[in-house]
């Protein structure tokens, strides 16, 4: 019993904070991915600068709409002034968005876009979005692949979690570019659910079935890093292109094991999210769509990018 007591006290100590200032709820998709950690750190810096409090909560499981829903409900109860969220599913949070709207708490959508149709069908007000155009970013990857292959070769695509808008956009952006060339064959297309380990396993299978493969486009770096490992173990010469520009991928680019990766600027999303939240609170108009940049990171500019990122560690 004493021990139970002690634990509980510890819990209280860890969490005891005094609330007074403007608070913004911030819900990344997870906290087990550098991409979101960068976003959160930048948002935190901006919040500190502007003197607002940031409450960061993420689900423990990647892609759990239910957990995000509960976190959002709890934030609504806490009466935060605004909520910035990277939704884990584009359509699965409609009921709680309705609750937020009812409670008068503005929601700002970062990185992964809510399905605009579903929002409209539910009779909700449009939700401002801040993020990159994933379709365009994947097109950049497609053009890069074409230039590396000389418009000829066999290509595999590792896709993200089915049903997420950015997973579809990235696959389509890349596919629409490379499939226009008769010399390029997309021989395999498999999901690895954004995970390193699954990227590794799926790529092993793809390599087994396609001995003549030339290039793998991984819709995120995690899957690409798994793919890289499988390629190295098979002692094959296959080009890997990733997406997200996470630190491990940047190292891989530096070492030459990744041909390139598409950088989004999650730090920008975090900063602009906090700013938009304050603007809305101050009664200012916020555009419904704020685009942040997409950029190809490869051997020539990787050092510059690493330097830029170090500001948000």
């Amino acid at each position: 019993m004493k021990k139970v007591l002690l634990t509980v006290l510890l819990v209280a100590l860890i969490g005891a904070v005094v609330f007074a200032k403007t608070t913004i709820g911030f819900i990344p998709m997870t906290l087990s991915n550098e991409y979101f950690i960068t976003m959160v750190n930048a948002a935190q810096q901006e919040a500190d600068k502007l003197g607002v409090e940031l409450i960061v909560q993420a689900g423990q499981r990647h892609g759990s709409a239910e957990e995000q829903m509960q976190i959002m409900e709890n934030m609504i109860t806490r009466r935060v002034d605004a909520i910035c969220i990277v939704p884990s599913s584009s359509q699965g949070l409609i009921p709680v968005l309705r609750k937020a709207e009812k409670a008068g708490i503005p929601v700002i959508n970062l990185d992964t876009k809510f399905d605009a149709e579903a929002i409209k069908a539910a009779g909700l007000k449009p939700i401002p979005f801040i993020g990159t155009d994933n379709y365009y970013g994947a097109q950049i990857a497609g053009w890069f692949a074409l230039s590396l292959l000389g418009a000829e070769g066999e290509v595999a695509i590792l896709t993200g979690v089915a049903g997420q808008q950015n997973a579809a956009d990235r696959r389509n952006g890349f596919y629409d570019i490379v499939s226009e060339y008769d010399g390029i064959k997309v021989v395999a297309e498999q999901t690895a659910n954004w995970e390193v380990e699954q990227g590794y396993n799926v790529t092993q299978n793809i390599l087994q079935a396609n001995p003549g493969l030339d290039l793998i486009f991984a819709s995120n770096d995690n899957m690409g890093l798994g793919a890289r490992k499988a390629v190295e173990e098979a002692k094959k010469d296959i080009t890997v292109i990733g997406y997200d520009a996470v630190p491990a991928a940047l190292d891989a680019v530096k070492m030459g094991t990744f041909a390139g990766t598409i950088a989004q600027f999650p730090a920008e999303m975090g900063i602009k999210g906090v700013q938009a939240a304050l603007d809305i609170k101050a009664g200012k108009e916020v555009p419904t769509n704020i685009q942040t940049a997409s950029k190809l990171i490869y051997m020539a500019n990787v050092d510059w990018f690493i330097d830029y990122l170090s500001d948000f560690e």
């Binding site: 019993m1 021990k3 139970v4 007591l5 634990t7 509980v8 006290l9 510890l10 819990v11 209280a12 860890i14 969490g15 005891a16 904070v17 609330f19 906290l31 409450i55 960061v56 909560q57 993420a58 689900g59 423990q60 499981r61 892609g63 759990s64 709409a65 239910e66 829903m69 509960q70 976190i71 409900e73 709890n74 934030m75 109860t77 806490r78 009466r79 599913s89 359509q91 699965g92 949070l93 409609i94 009921p95 399905d115 579903a118 069908a121 539910a122 979690v161 089915a162 049903g163 999901t191």
Partner: protein
């Protein structure tokens, strides 16, 4: 003093829950708010409902690892029926029947096939998850009729309907467990299987029923989760088996079977829900939330062990 020890021994779980509650009340001004308390009840309700079935199974000395995957399977199954125009009550019923089916298969294989419950339900965990993914090619199902959402968003006298569902299921579970022959047999099987068999009770049938009930409630959970999100995804119900088992053991039911009950399970589920809610309100980073919840599970069972050893 003796009285004090008696109280600690028999109501430790409630005291622990009360303490956690008290600490959150004192440390967060948002905790003790009617809406927040309702949030806790609603957020705990799905795990609580499924944990009723898990309690039945664990009381027989078994375990059901497949409930989370059955949630996903019934969720996608009922979601697909709804978008293809099947009337809502029919889709709900068929969804629940999917759960019953999976539970019966578990039960028959375990009770009559004599395959260990851990293995069978581990297999079913994979089968049902694969089924959930295969049903719609891994894609989630959206665009469910808006009226379907009302079975989750409705309120009765200001009380969210999920809380009512939870209370009804516990009432029925209570009745079955303490007022029917099936309930007594389930306790008996977990307490002493051989003696139960010798006294002429149909052990396999009663054991199978426990898994069927667990499947049924997982099926119901899947349908309710779909309504809550108004959306069905094959990834849902992830780790529900662990949450329900945690709720049952925190509630003092022995994994060896034969001992425990539903009041403990309800408290266990509410305790988990309260911890998650309170820690979020206090803005504890999710990493530490996991550590704290894990520690509480172990402490609760450790305390329970100490109690039985001394008693």
């Amino acid at each position: 003093m003796k009285k004090m020890i008696f109280i600690l021994r028999n109501y430790g779980m409630f005291i622990g829950f009360g303490l956690i509650f008290l600490i959150f009340s004192l440390s967060s001004e948002y905790f003790l708010d009617v809406y927040n308390l309702m949030n806790i009840l609603v957020q705990s309700s799905l795990i609580a409902i499924i944990a009723v079935g898990q309690t039945f199974v664990i009381l027989t000395g078994g375990i059901d690892l497949s409930v989370g995957s059955i949630v996903a399977l019934t969720s996608v199954g009922s979601g697909l029926m709804l978008v293809s125009g099947v009337p809502i009550p029919v889709a709900i019923l068929l969804g629940i029947l999917i759960g019953v089916g999976a539970g019966v298969v578990n039960g028959i294989t375990i009770a009559y096939g004599k395959v260990p419950a851990f293995i069978v339900t581990l297999g079913m965990m994979s089968i049902a998850r694969g089924g959930a993914l295969a049903l719609n090619n891994g894609k989630p199902v959206s665009g469910l009729p808006f009226e379907f959402e009302t079975i989750a968003s409705a309120e009765l006298f200001g009380v969210p309907i999920f809380v009512i569902y939870m209370l009804i299921i516990f009432a029925i579970g209570f009745f079955i467990l303490y007022k029917t022959r099936l309930g007594r047999h389930i306790f008996a099987i977990g307490g002493n299987r051989e003696a139960t068999k010798l006294s002429g009770i149909n052990v396999p049938f009663n054991e199978m029923m426990a898994y069927a009930i667990s499947g049924l409630l997982a099926g119901l959970g899947g349908v309710l989760l779909t309504a809550r999100l108004n959306y069905a995804t094959p990834l849902s119900g992830n780790a529900y088996e662990l949450d329900t088992i945690a709720a049952v053991v925190i509630g003092g039911t022995s994994l060896a079977g034969g001992e425990g009950g539903l009041v403990g399970t309800l408290i266990g589920a509410l305790l988990l829900g309260t911890l998650r809610n309170g820690l979020t309100l206090l803005n504890v980073v999710s990493y530490y939330q996991q550590i704290i919840i894990g520690a509480v599970i172990i402490l609760a069972v450790f305390y329970d062990r100490m109690k039985t050893k001394k008693g």
